[in-house]
């Protein structure tokens, strides 16, 4: 009853195609690890799952565009970034909705670089809203392009272009 792309689409992480959470599952369910990182005892949370099917979740806030308009108009800085090889939430949608807000373009579509290489493209809008793509990155950008991700992350936090 409506299209809400989520990751992963299936509730049980064991059934998510094309992914593997074995390292995380084995590490976080190890008793010594759980003790070291101060988790509650197993009688309360029996095991860690990457994605749980324990909760029943209602998407009750509607479209996020009105939130972005409100926040950016109040002066909060926003970076909307997209790995451009993701088809779960593809960049075409993020590119479309950031454009749809209608803010003046202050930094016309151009490549951005990391380590001297083109790492993607960016378009800057008025009110500190920036849309940025990361070439060749999938849904979880820093997993696929860690160096480039740290670069844009550092620049954004520092207020650099």
């Amino acid at each position: 009853d409506g299209f809400v792309p989520t990751w992963p689409q299936l509730s049980n992480s064991n059934n998510v195609p094309c992914t593997d959470d074995e390292v995380a599952t084995s590490w976080l369910n190890n008793a010594a690890v759980r003790k070291a990182i101060h988790t509650v005892e197993e009688s309360v949370v029996s095991s860690w799952d990457l994605c749980t099917d324990r909760i029943s979740f209602n998407h009750d806030a509607g479209s996020m565009i009105k939130f972005h308009k409100n926040l950016t108009s109040k002066g909060y800085r926003a970076l909307i970034y997209s790995g451009d090889h993701d088809m779960c939430v593809p960049f075409t949608g993020s590119q479309a909705w950031t454009r749809s807000i209608g803010y003046k373009i202050v930094d016309e579509w151009r490549p951005w670089t990391s380590n001297g290489q083109v790492a993607g493209f960016t378009q800057g809008y008025d009110k500190n809203l920036t849309f940025l793509t990361i070439k060749g990155a999938g849904h979880t950008v820093p997993e696929y392009k860690p160096k480039e991700a740290l670069d844009f992350y550092t620049r954004f936090l520092s207020g650099l272009p």
Partner: protein, 284 residues
């Protein structure tokens, strides 16, 4: 910082941690016993000055340890060589803790290591999640007041495209209208491959598949007017449906009467799903 939350050693990692790590729970609802789990990685740079960034993975229902382990946490994980063994951890040269203090949060209750003593809390939604996470932040900064002056950012990906702006709005609202304390030095937010708007996100898929060469030009053109109730049948547009666009199909329920129509004069639905269909009778 509460010293009993300090992580003194991390199994699988040999060596000294490059910065302080803290982990534990914050109770966001005393009556229900709703507790959210966090793992905080102090900056390897200047923790007293560098930004504090809250990181949220999406789902909904996915643990933010996905970000910690697979994306931008302080370690790279190498799978164990023997069955049942522990992964080996190496320092991640591209950890986001190189330049910021990163707060990984399992949210809402029921996700990852977060829990509630009341099972009804596991029925939740965007608004309750944002409210709980805001309550978490206020309490967390009370526990770690030395980080209050630092610039504060909210970040996340995927379904956190909903979590991030709804939480940011709560923080802004609490600061301006409700006088929430402590006052967070909130500066901005980041969303990666985030869910935003059902219609725009949904309509982005086909142009993406076409642009990436996954489907042909011919198929891309043919997909206009796709009959989603029988993809191999053409889309029937009755005389009264002139001006009715393909994208309108997802705007239920006003277009509900169009379900199952083909170029044939009878709606497929009426022939297929009559309620009087005899049990085990052959399909007509």
């Amino acid at each position: 910082a509460p010293q009993n939350s300090l992580v003194t050693q991390v199994p699988g990692f040999n060596g000294s941690l490059p910065s302080n790590h803290y982990a534990g729970y914050v109770t966001v609802d005393e009556n229900h016993g709703r507790n959210l789990y966090y793992y905080f990685v102090a900056s390897e740079g200047k923790p007293s000055e560098d930004p504090v960034v809250l990181w949220l993975n999406g789902g909904p229902g996915c643990s933010s340890f996905d970000g910690f382990i697979y994306e931008h946490g302080p370690f790279n994980f190498e799978a164990a060589k023997t069955k049942g063994g522990l992964p080996t951890l190496h320092l991640n040269p591209h950890s986001w803790s190189k330049v910021s203090n990163v707060l990984y949060l399992d949210s809402p209750a029921g996700v990852g290591f977060s829990y509630s003593k009341n099972d009804t809390d596991y029925i939740t939604g965007d608004i309750k999640t944002a409210s709980d996470t805001h309550a978490f932040l206020l309490k967390w900064f009370n526990l770690y007041p030395e980080f209050l002056p630092n610039p504060f950012f909210i970040a996340g990906e995927s379904y956190a495209g909903v979590y991030v702006p709804t939480l940011a709005y709560e923080v802004m609202k609490g600061r301006i209208d409700a006088g929430a304390r402590p006052i967070l030095n909130f500066q901005g937010y980041m969303v990666g491959n985030g869910v935003t708007d059902e219609q725009i996100d949904g309509n982005a898929l086909v142009p993406f598949a076409h642009g990436m060469g996954l489907i042909s030009d011919n198929l891309f053109e043919a997909i206009d007017g796709l009959n989603i109730y029988d993809i191999l049948e053409p889309c029937y547009h009755g005389i009264e449906a002139e001006g009715f666009t393909a994208s309108s199909y997802i705007r239920l329920p006003s277009s509900f009467r169009k379900l199952g129509e083909t170029e044939k004069p009878l709606a497929v639905r009426k022939r297929m799903f009559g309620r009087a269909w005899p049990l085990r009778a052959p399909v007509r």
